[in-house]
Symmetry: C2
Subunit: 375 residues, 2 copies
């Protein structure tokens, strides 16, 4: 069922446009995947996520295994049916959240033993369990179980994580029982060390059992320049005929730059989390809705955005909702921020198909960097 | 512009069905008015409130005068435009919230001087100001400024409130500058004392300057039986050719009973506030979504409800969202609870028009009183 089709490589840059054929639909790349951690995009109903044009969302195995549990989701007919989302879903392996959220954990060559951050219950997560969970969810794209060290980790820690990630990938491939209705992506680690990245690409991307590959271990504390350089260096060594997914990245600027490097899948909590704190992404940079400058501003959040929020409500009204602590503010700002990220991806795709991604990138980065909304 | 049309009085009961012709549209009665305190229904977007079939909403003058202020709303083109709600709006006078929310207040025969519960700023609210504010909002129905004592107030306090309420109504009528594009409702007080109610109906409902009348001073601490008896006693003395609005009431059972007494307009925070706490109204009584009994329940909240929540999501999923603390839970449960209240009003209307409201009431009250969802 899974097929990664590279439609076009931009003549000006290395940016790629393509299609991912998945069990629950076709995804046009480059694509941004909104994050629905606990089987819901925070503050936005699935119907509205569809209207935004999101073709695939991400959900988190760690959260779902703890609550409501994979067995419940499987009984309910899988994650799509449980959450009433008909389009593709990518799930992570749960590893990253074990490292960042669980209270007490022990990571060995076998995997992780940890206590739930919710109720302290003891859980095991390893390669085999990560496959079992994601197959129970019915994910369109499953991520291999990996170890993701922080940016400032010692080389030895990074190397141990790389070794485990390769061994765990082989165990994921062996443990997988569903071949035809889902995909498995392996994850390249190696921190911001080019030599380690090369070495790990060579190992991970040699695995035939993977339909696609991801760049992991970024957006974990390194600088933007390190992120961009590592992504550029790593992506170009990855197989051209398979999908490239940059995990957990990033700002609109990060997307625009990394699409240039030949990456086509992205996810990040940034648009939705920022929305809940009143930070709005626009073509002209970030806008802080609570600022007094918007008190009497009857214009839309972003005049170049066609989302429901921008076509229906004013900055003044949205500021009022934010200041008044109304939940509809989070909903409306999240709708806009996701619309904006999805538009960036769609505009990038159009520019790639027209062989003018380079020009578009220069213009887009210049506008994003403007300080138009500085208070 | 305003016209109250009594279409039909049920042959079995005193229940009335009619139409309110307002500047922003026609309202079919009996009607429940969802509460949008701060220029938004909490957790639900105006588009979804429309889809629910809400023909009129209520908004609170006290909150809007403090934030964002009547001047801002007027500048933005009025409340409808500010909040992107095209249908009718009823606003209260602000008095009730001054008594219940403001930190420091002094109420005299002139009106109220109070400190904002938000920032402590000093404000004046009296008959003239209440009219000025509601006219600035562009309300379809304005409420007269009244004094609403608690249920356990001394007779002397109730009598003083009645006297002030009459005097303030005359000042409201005199202060009103917009006659053609809005309505003014006077408010009957008198606690749960029948003699006082009779006396106040006679005084208030004699005022020609009012397009409709409300029963105030209920749902302020009295028993359900006192509420029903007082409503029944008061409503039947009110003019038959004008609208009757029971303020701040109540449970589904209260609606079903008070429609019988010839009341046709209701508002209450109960459906939306309960939804945010996971309490769901169904035809078979209340359901507490967090209860373990719904963990693996893949049925709809209420099989007899056609709302988006009931036709799309399961109890199990909604319980998951509630337990996980997801904002989409409040949205989905509020949508259902409002749909349920609106359906009660619509079903009541259909029963009245068919001269079988009495039968419908008996069946409906019996189902509502069932303990089907008792944990």
């Amino acid at each position: 069922m899974y097929k990664c089709e590279v439609e076009h490589v931009c003549a000006q840059t290395g940016a790629r446009a393509g299609k991912l054929h998945l069990t629950h639909g076709v995804v046009h790349t480059p694509i941004f995947m909104p994050v629905g951690t606990q089987a819901t995009i925070k503050a936005v109903l699935p119907r509205d996520v569809e209207v935004l044009g999101a073709e695939i969302i991400l959900s988190n195995t760690y959260h779902l295994m703890l609550r409501p549990g994979a067995e419940r989701i499987a009984q309910a007919g899988g994650l799509h049916k449980f959450m009433a989302w008909q389009r593709p879903v990518l799930t992570d392996s749960g590893g990253f959240q074990v490292y960042s959220l669980s209270k007490i954990r022990k990571v060995t060559d076998d995997g992780a033993v940890f206590q739930s951050h919710i109720d302290g219950a003891r859980h095991v997560l390893n390669a085999e369990r990560a496959m079992q969970l994601q197959e129970a969810f019915g994910s369109d794209i499953m991520m291999a179980f990996d170890e993701c060290p922080p940016a400032k980790a010692d080389t030895k820690v990074v190397q141990r994580a790389m070794k485990r990630t390769v061994a765990w990938l082989d165990r994921c491939i062996a443990a997988r029982t569903r071949q035809d209705d889902c995909a498995l992506y392996g994850i390249v680690q190696g921190g911001v060390d080019f030599a380690l990245r090369s070495q790990h690409v060579e190992q991970i991307c040699a695995r035939e059992g993977c339909e696609g590959f991801a760049i992991g271990g970024l957006s974990v504390g390194e600088t933007s320049e390190e992120l961009w350089a590592t992504c550029a260096y790593t992506a170009k060594q990855m197989p051209a005929h398979k999908a490239r997914y940059l995990m957990g990245v990033g700002t609109p600027e990060d997307l625009v730059r990394c699409i240039d490097y030949g990456v086509e899948q992205f996810d990040c909590v940034m648009p939705s989390r920022n929305a809940r704190h009143g930070v709005v992404f626009t073509h002209d940079g970030k806008l802080v809705i609570k600022n007094r400058q918007f008190f009497a501003d009857d214009g839309p959040l972003d005049p170049d955005c066609g989302c429901m929020t921008c076509t229906t409500f004013t900055r003044s009204y949205l500021r009022h909702l934010f200041v008044a602590g109304e939940a509809t503010c989070a909903t409306l700002l999240t709708i806009h921020n996701l619309a904006f990220y999805l538009k960036i991806a769609r505009d990038a795709r159009a520019a790639i198909l027209a062989d003018r991604f380079g020009d578009w990138q220069v213009q887009t980065l210049a506008r994003l960097a403007s300080k138009r909304w500085a208070a």
